[in-house]
Chain length 336, copies 2
């Protein structure tokens, strides 16, 4: 069964159950010309939007509907996390090719709804249409933040410590498996695949960082460490020094790199879609915040370098040598 059989309106009826999980601020949900809701008092509105296109961002034959829906929302949640905000209302636009079944679409909405419920996000609307070729999903997400707590990219200062909330490079390794049609037949490879397919949004962690004194610039690692730290450098007008030995790589990635003959640090630098938070923090606050974070989330924060006034992007290798690096993230050439 596909969209032509039940029509746009029939499909909307099918998927609109379970979309409204926090009704108290909502005046009009799915079903009118626009959604209407009451903003949180005293807060600033955040809006982000991400477009996922088949054969550019995902291969449908290698991705379940559930995983695709989960990821489509997750990458937007990650943007709100990187602003220090709270995610609230999501809007899903979807263009569906003839050969995409209703079952795949329902699975996709289940992926979205599962993650939305975890983070108390309503699905308040969207647009459903057909396409001639590729499945295409746009998510727009509205969130809130207190103006004084918003986290930007352009506020890093000379002397700040650069930190990240999790491993880097795993997602790119998962992508390598998909592109090269390699079966994930070990626990290590399965974990890498999941890092790519089901990225965790660091929303609670972003809120935590937003409330700490000393946290300065924040971005989520979507394009890759080298590219995203490059955004902070360029927009804050500062230099970057990273320490190769401090960049957190998982044991799974180390094994993967041994098997396929790659360098884990290269993978972490040039990877992408990790969706960890990358931030800079005043050096006198870094250890204290890391200790509180560990207590709260039972995960460490990783200090990987510092902000300099050199204007350069430098990587200090294990042997003490200095290598300059440039942003080499994907710029959306991923599945090509």
């Amino acid at each position: 069964m596909n969209l032509r059989d039940i029509g746009e309106f029939g499909f909307i009826k099918r998927i609109s159950r379970g979309c409204l999980i926090r009704p108290h601020n909502v005046i009009k949900a799915i079903g009118d010309d626009a959604a209407a809701f009451i903003p949180a008092p005293g807060q600033v509105i955040l809006v982000t939007t991400d477009l996922l296109v088949e054969r550019i961002h995902f291969l449908r034959e290698a991705t379940s509907g559930f995983n695709l829906g989960y990821k489509a929302l997750s990458v937007n949640l990650s943007d709100i996390a990187a602003m220090g905000g709270i995610a609230r209302e999501a809007f899903i636009s979807i263009a569906v090719p003839e050969n995409c079944s209703i079952e795949y679409l329902e699975d996709l909405y289940n992926g979205i709804k599962t993650l939305a419920a975890e983070f108390d996000v309503n699905l308040l609307g969207g647009d459903t249409t057909r396409s001639k070729a590729d499945l295409t999903i746009n998510v727009s997400l509205v969130g809130y933040a207190f103006e004084k707590e918003i986290l930007y990219r352009n506020t890093a200062q000379h002397g700040d410590i650069i930190c990240t909330t999790g491993f880097l490079g795993d997602s790119r390794a998962g992508l390598y498996l998909i592109i090269n049609d390699i079966k994930a037949d070990s626990n290590e490879l399965k974990a890498l695949l999941n890092a790519h397919l089901l990225p965790k949004p660091y929303l609670r962690e972003g809120r935590f960082l937003a409330r700490q004194g000393g946290v300065r610039a924040v971005i989520d690692v979507s394009d890759g460490l080298s590219s995203d730290i490059g955004h902070i450098a360029e927009e804050s007008n500062v230099g970057i020094r990273l320490y190769s030995a401090k960049i957190p790589v998982s044991n799974n990635l180390i094994k993967f790199c041994a098997w396929f003959d790659f360098d884990p640090v290269e993978y972490a630098l040039a990877g992408g879609e990790d969706y960890t938070l990358l931030y800079t923090i005043s050096p006198d606050k870094a250890d204290h915040v890391a200790a509180d974070y560990l207590k709260r989330f039972r995960n460490p924060l990783y200090q990987i370098g510092e902000i300099t006034d050199s204007g350069k992007m430098e990587l200090i290798l294990s042997n003490g040598r200095i290598r300059s690096f440039t942003p080499s993230g994907w710029d959306h050439f991923k599945y090509e």
Copy 2:
């Protein structure tokens, strides 16, 4: 030159001039993980989103970039108009195939910006990526309204007069010219083509109606008169009686129908993408509001029927006969 030559970030730099035309409420525009802005005090937030897909909603070879951008924003403005709201912040996601030039894209953004400036709308963000096949544009639009003035679809009452703000069917005639590759070589055909390519958003008119007593259900005519009045009927749980002789059709459409042997009323009923407002109003207010509207906008309101308690959708023909009709709008099969 295409997107590959200058990259996603290069393109964003090129098009980000002229996006912020009302900076006073904006904390962060294009360039961070999310946009941040201050909501209008005491007002409800409206959000709408529309996805336009090549070969489904438009043919690139038959549409200039300017017209496509203009229409992509206009259809969203129309949704805010149909809620009685004020449009404020727009977010543009775009997936660009290899064979689409940067010049076409810049023209597209010029179309968006021209209309945005007319209605005081900021472009605050979006997403730019590539696609393997079709040019795809999603616009998400944030607006505001006073809660007591919001106009819904499900509030029509027995006895209401059904009205529309403009001609119906012109856009579908323009579409017919495009699909059948007919050159618009007369003023009449050019006007019909423009009705399809550059639809007017009735935002000021929607605000006007929202402030009048007695205006009840409102929808914009996107799927076609029969389909959109069907939405009002279904969601308000009422019947519909339309008078064939009262449905406003332009002289251009009458000539077109004479030339190509169509029935103008059929065109108006089953058309789509007119983007006029269709509303119901208490009968004791209808004439007074129409007189004020004429004074203010120098255009008439057209009374085309009434809301009944029959549960049926009826069309009264010129000879007095009654024909029942069903929603026969497009449900997004347009260019197929």
